[in-house]
Amino acid sequence: MPKVKIARKSISLDMTAMCDMAFLLLTFFMLTTKFKPDEPVSVDMPKSISETKLPDIDVMMITVDKEGKVFFGIDAQPKREEMLNSILGKYKIGLTEAQIKEFSLLTTFGCPVSFLPQYLKMEDGERRSYMDKHPELKGIPFDSTNNELRDWVAYARYANTKLRIAVKADAETPLKAVSQVVDILQDQNINKLNFVTNLREKPKVKLD
């Protein structure tokens, strides 16, 4: 019996098509991606059925963490710089060009104005651990004797008049802290707020 000879096939295949597709997807993801900004606090938001999306631009984000500490941030670097310069002028604190630049890169921050020079000197990763060790320096003061949050809000709105205000608070945050922040906003005639929430499924409800 003659031996059946199996034809040896080349296992090499044309990868051009696959390669094309891979790069197409790669380009897509590279262009659409927006890196999650490093936030000084992690906040677990409550859920709601609201599907309104938070806009990308002109947003002032006030974050309130579990302990009621307040963090603050606005978008767009030039606006941040403008806001910071007004604050520095008011509190008579000098910062170097490099520190101002560093500040303009922060999406959210939370410390008293007097601590800003040291805060900006630290590395990104260092800040959070430092703040955990020094809870008294964590967050922007907003009590009646030292209401820095009010100034930040005022100057931020001065720098960008179109700002929409979003409040992002942890589900476990005492409502009192949030109410206090809302009070400060209301004092500046901001009555329209956006509570940032996670999406949950809308339950079916029979209304009639």
Binding site: P46, K53, K192, N194
Partner: protein
Amino acid sequence: MAEVDTGGGGKGKHKKKGGKKVSTKIDMTPMVDLAFLLITFFMLTTTFNKPQTMEVNYPDKTVKDTPQEIAKSRTAVLMPDENDRIFFFFGEKNEDVQETNYSKDGLRAMLIRRRKEVKARLGKDPIWIIKATDKAKYKNLVDIIDEFYITQNTTFAIVKITPEDQALVTKVKTMAAPTAAAQ
């Protein structure tokens, strides 16, 4: 894998003369590897979903001394506390404070019932007032507003709790405690 010279595949079908012709095929395996690695990276780091927001309007503080002449027959006051309990009463401040919770048959059923009842009686939507107690959590407020939206009760206001209302809640709690213990 893919190789530079594909001449070796068949049984010498393409015999090259002099080997001057250089194949234009290149090994794409590493490139594809890298491309997929990067795709994976960007896919995992990308954040597609933007956060959702719930729009809430607070009353204007600058408008002062507006007579609060809202129909008492339409209003109801909700007072959530920190233990996921909600105390509420309808209309005028009265001793008839009831309690409910965040379950489907609790708050939601109550909201639907009340809306139907007020609509039938007055042809208007009911008005809700949230007065959170001192220790209530942010979640409680959001949950209640969320239930409002679910049941299409869109007329509501968030107001600071008065000491009287706070006292009312404490009173109801202390009154309810012995009976609960007795059971």
